[in-house]
Symmetry: C2
Subunit: 110 residues, 2 copies
DNA sequence: GCATAATATGCGGATATCCGAATAAATCGT
DNA sequence: ACGATTTATTCGGATATCCGCATATTATGC
């Protein structure tokens, strides 16, 4: 551990990171950023959210350094900071799908 | 999507999965299960938690099918259901470390 | 400087999560 | 069947998250 950091603090930070991913809207945002940067207004339009609510969610993703904001004039473009985030995203989605298939099997069996 | 499931519901489920990971204690539990199954009492002892609290967290992980409970007599052994969960776990941890290194660089620069 | 556009932030009520204490449920030995 | 052991669940108060509304901030064009 490079910086002075207790085990507890590290797990806390890891949990904060996960918490930032633990909301449907924020997952939608991340999915929307896969193909490249998007401005806030683009995201508002594509996701159909109130602007303030979207900005709040973007703020949470920003705080955890999951996304990067680049300003060009009045518009701010958001992009993903680290491809490993989407990798983790996809792994969990695979797990989810396998859980759903499993549940289906059991549903048929019972 | 095999089962009847709207896009919104799917993202909701994904978020629930992430939420289950979004707590330091539950991350500690998952880390503890990497090397194989552990009984509840082993986990209580190794993590130093109240038994009820640990069971609550295990329940959350169980509900999301992140862990499996196997009963042997009076003791219940928990194990990880899918290695992809720990893979996702590790990817996020790498992201976290890189974020911390970055913060350190900036701290030194300023 | 001022009106406008794009984005961010503060506030407050509704809802969800967290933890400890007490209690229930399951299993064992006798 | 009864007591002991291990694990799970319920309840309630404290704390945190979420969203809409209103307002602030930042940048542009005139």
């Amino acid at each position: 551990m490079s910086t002075q950091q207790s085990k507890e603090e590290f797990y806390q930070l890891h949990a904060h990171l996960c918490k930032a991913l633990a909301h449907p809207t924020r997952l939608l945002i991340i999915d929307e950023l896969r193909d490249g940067p998007r401005s806030v207004s683009e995201l508002v339009e594509r996701l159909g959210l109130r602007q303030s609510n979207l900005s709040q969610h973007l703020g949470i993703l920003r705080d955890q350094r999951l996304v990067i904001a680049r300003r060009d004039g009045q518009t701010v473009y958001y992009s993903l900071r680290d491809p490993r985030v989407t990798q983790a995203f996809d792994l969990l989605r695979q797990v989810l799908r396998s859980v759903l298939r499993e549940g289906e099997r059991l549903a048929v069996a019972n």
